[in-house]
Symmetry: C2
Subunit: 136 residues, 2 copies
DNA sequence: GTTGTTTGTTGTAATGATTACAATATAAAA
DNA sequence: TTTTATATTGTAATCATTACAACAAACAAC
């Protein structure tokens, strides 16, 4: 079981207090936080923390497979250190995000009791035929 | 077959040149345009057009079921007047959006030849159990 | 360890899409 | 018409994110 420092070093990232605390925050809280929430909640422990550091750190996590970002069209991103394939449910009422232990395929059927889907959208990203040809 | 003016009147929207041209643009081009593209391309025909009008108009279209907005995480939205259930494919190489005549379920299988999916994400929006209870 | 090099952190200043707002204009209702 | 409601327009905010430069901490070579 990798600890935080090993996770960083194995990916060529230098360990730092900031990175360790932010990763620990994501793993402990599992609350799909925004940059600002992370910043506000870690400020007591890390009084010199900068918002820019939170941005940089989360970008580095995403680039190195330690986190993913979630875009629910709120105008800002959320982050999740659970990188296993699973889905998310965004409540339009309370703005909370719920984990669904379902691969992005067969949603809608097996929702938790009481949850109602109003809208769902699948975003597919990749490379189109023309661009694939151009790369040859 | 409703014409543009009827479409507006049937939904309690007042017809205007701006609205008619913007709707026509979406229906003719089917290019999943951004606000700015619409603005730039219609400026020659509508020299007094304001960006704010494009924003307002597209918001009104979305509220009244004449269009949907697409968020591919580019930092701006795209719009589509095709409101039938279908999916989209965003090419990370050329930034173009392709229509897929597939309901958001079974992507990945029947992609057009030559297209490669690198990443896909299903966004589910709705109301959670707690909020549904609170509404009683 | 010490020195030099690379990488990370911080704060402030841009950027850029979107929204707020107030003035004007146009459409519908009376 | 006259009045009332809604649209359009331009400018000024807003706000998440990014760019940048100074400083600091980690790593490598000696």
């Amino acid at each position: 079981m990798e600890n935080a420092i090993q996770k960083f070093q194995n990916r060529g990232m230098r360990p730092s207090i900031q990175r360790a605390k932010i990763l620990q925050y994501l793993l402990d809280k599992r609350n799909h936080p925004t940059v600002d929430l992370i910043y506000q909640e870690l400020l007591p422990e890390l009084p010199t923390l900068s918002r820019t550091t939170v941005y940089n750190t989360l970008d580095a996590f995403c680039e190195n497979g330690l986190a993913i970002h979630l875009d629910f069209g709120e105008g800002f991103l959320r982050y999740d250190a659970d990188t296993t394939p699973h889905s998310h449910f965004f409540c339009k009422c309370c703005q909370k995000v719920f984990d669904l232990e379902i691969p992005p395929e067969d949603i809608a059927s097996k929702l938790p009791k009481g949850f109602v889907i109003q809208e769902s959208q699948l975003y597919a990203f990749g490379v189109c035929e023309e661009c694939n040809k151009a790369k040859l």
